[in-house]
């Protein structure tokens, strides 16, 4: 059995760096496109609504693993050479945008119709109606579910290993193969995921509690 030294720990931390980076890219990219999806899904135009609904169905109805696979090799098939991290970033952005889009769609639709009517009666246009009136309220309602999805996304980045991407879980696997101490290594890897995800889950639960109290 090998020794777990500084270099092994550094290797794991390298993997952690990519895990966090991928999560951030997925969350930010997914947030931007997810907003577009949510707005399309609640639009007055049925073509936009249907397109967004189809997009959401596809990405919610297929495994993330397969989405990574299709994007990575699909872009390769188009004759464009792309680095693993870019392909993975694109796949996570698409995946996250579908889920966040659907979460925020629910938030937007939960805002009472009177809010939009009051905004209309005051002469506010779509952009202001959304930006100033509807979205701030919708995001607040959606925050617990959004945090919950972020936790899923962080853990989901481990699937990026499928296309040869060395993030935290894959780094753990490599170190474990070198040291022959899988239990210890995956114990450490698991603990790292837990330290990141647990506070987020707690935060989400607290938000939900606070809202339930406010609604009472």
């Amino acid at each position: 059995m090998g020794v777990i030294g500084q270099s092994e720990m550094l290797f794991l931390l390298q993997g952690l760096k990519w895990t966090l980076l991928l999560s951030a890219i997925g969350f930010i990219g997914g947030g931007v496109f997810g907003l577009v999806i949510a707005l399309a899904r609640t639009s007055g135009r049925s073509a936009l609504r249907k397109t967004a609904a189809g997009y959401i169905s596809v990405f919610q109805g297929t495994p993330l693993l397969m989405q990574l696979f299709v994007v990575y090799y699909g872009i390769g098939l188009l004759g464009v050479s792309i680095e693993a991290w870019a392909a993975v970033a694109i796949a996570f952005t698409l995946h996250a945008s579908a889920f966040l889009g659907e979460i925020w769609r629910g938030g937007i639709q939960a805002i009472p119709k009177g809010q939009t009517e009051a905004a209309n009666a005051l002469g506010l246009h779509y952009v202001s109606r959304m930006k100033d009136v509807v979205l701030p309220q919708a995001f607040k309602i959606s925050l617990p579910a959004t945090v919950g999805f972020l936790v899923q996304l962080i853990k989901g980045t481990s699937l990026a290993a499928i296309v040869g991407f060395i993030e935290l879980a894959r780094a753990g696997q490599i170190v474990s193969n070198q040291t022959y101490r899988p239990l210890l290594i995956f114990g450490i890897v698991g603990a790292i995921y837990f330290i990141i995800c647990w506070p987020l889950s707690l935060y989400g639960a607290r938000l939900e509690n606070r809202m339930a109290k406010a609604a009472r």
Partner: protein, 253 residues
């Protein structure tokens, strides 16, 4: 009461307006002319179309037939005509519909800043003026949920006034209020009427109708059944449906 209004040209008119919700004929051949400064009270049983009627005036509802003109603008499907009408016509809702995530002051400054392009400083000045007028300026920094229903409705009136509209629509403004708060809202509306605002009010407050209305309009089943100055309307209603309605509503007051 002064009837200077009678000599002026119409501010608002509806001609042969029909509206359906699917198969339901919600408004039937509505003809209504409102002159500048006139106060109209619309009443009738629930489902009679009175709310629908005023919601058509600022295009919250679409009409299928007929013409609506506001200040010389013909309301059609174009965003331009809808914008023009909404700039001139304010509305107060039964459920207040204040924006809960904004302070009272922000509620009042949003539309002037976004729609009229007023600077923040000027918008706040206007907002303070109207909040003062509805006697709620001391609550300007609070959020709607911290206010009573009557206070919220007065803020909603101030918010509409901040756009400096030429006419105000009131859609059952006191129906969602506890009885002890009705008076403060009605007093605000009476003050507004005294200052010459053109008003169309859907309300069952017959005392208010007696006091400020130039005309009371009774609707039933989507039609205007009877229209008269309040003295005539309450003393000598001609249509049996009006008589039945008044008998019922006055028995409760």
């Amino acid at each position: 009461m002064l009837h200077a209004a009678d000599t002026q040209s119409p501010l608002l008119s509806m001609e042969a307006v029909d509206k359906w919700y699917g198969a339901f004929h919600a408004l039937k051949n509505i003809n209504l002319t409102v002159r500048k400064g006139e106060k109209i009270v619309l009443c009738g049983p629930s489902g009679s179309g009175k709310s629908t009627l005023i919601r058509c005036i600022n295009a919250l509802e679409k009409i299928e037939k007929g013409t609506i003109m506001v200040e010389g603008t013909k309301l059609d499907d174009s965003g331009k005509s809808i914008d023009a009408v909404r700039r001139e016509v304010g509305m107060v809702f039964q459920s207040f519909n204040l924006f809960p995530h904004m302070t009272i002051l922000e509620n009042c400054t949003l539309a002037p800043m976004r729609v009229r392009g007023t600077s923040k400083a000027d918008a706040e000045k206007i907002a303070r003026k109207y909040l003062e007028r509805v006697r709620i300026l001391d609550q300007a920094e609070k959020y709607p949920a911290q206010l009573s229903g009557g206070q919220q409705q007065r803020v909603a009136i101030a918010r509409a006034l901040c756009m400096e509209p030429k006419a105000m629509l009131f859609d059952e403004p006191t129906s969602a209020l506890d009885p002890e708060m009705v008076k403060e809202v009605l007093d605000t509306m009476i003050g507004l009427a005294r200052d010459g605002m053109t008003m169309i009010c859907v309300t069952h407050e017959m005392g208010f109708a007696r006091q400020v209305a130039d005309r009371v309009i009774f609707m039933a089943s989507g039609e205007i059944i009877e229209e008269a100055p309040p003295e005539t309307f309450f003393r000598n209603p001609t249509h049996p449906r009006t008589q039945a309605f008044l008998g019922e509503i006055l028995a409760h007051h």
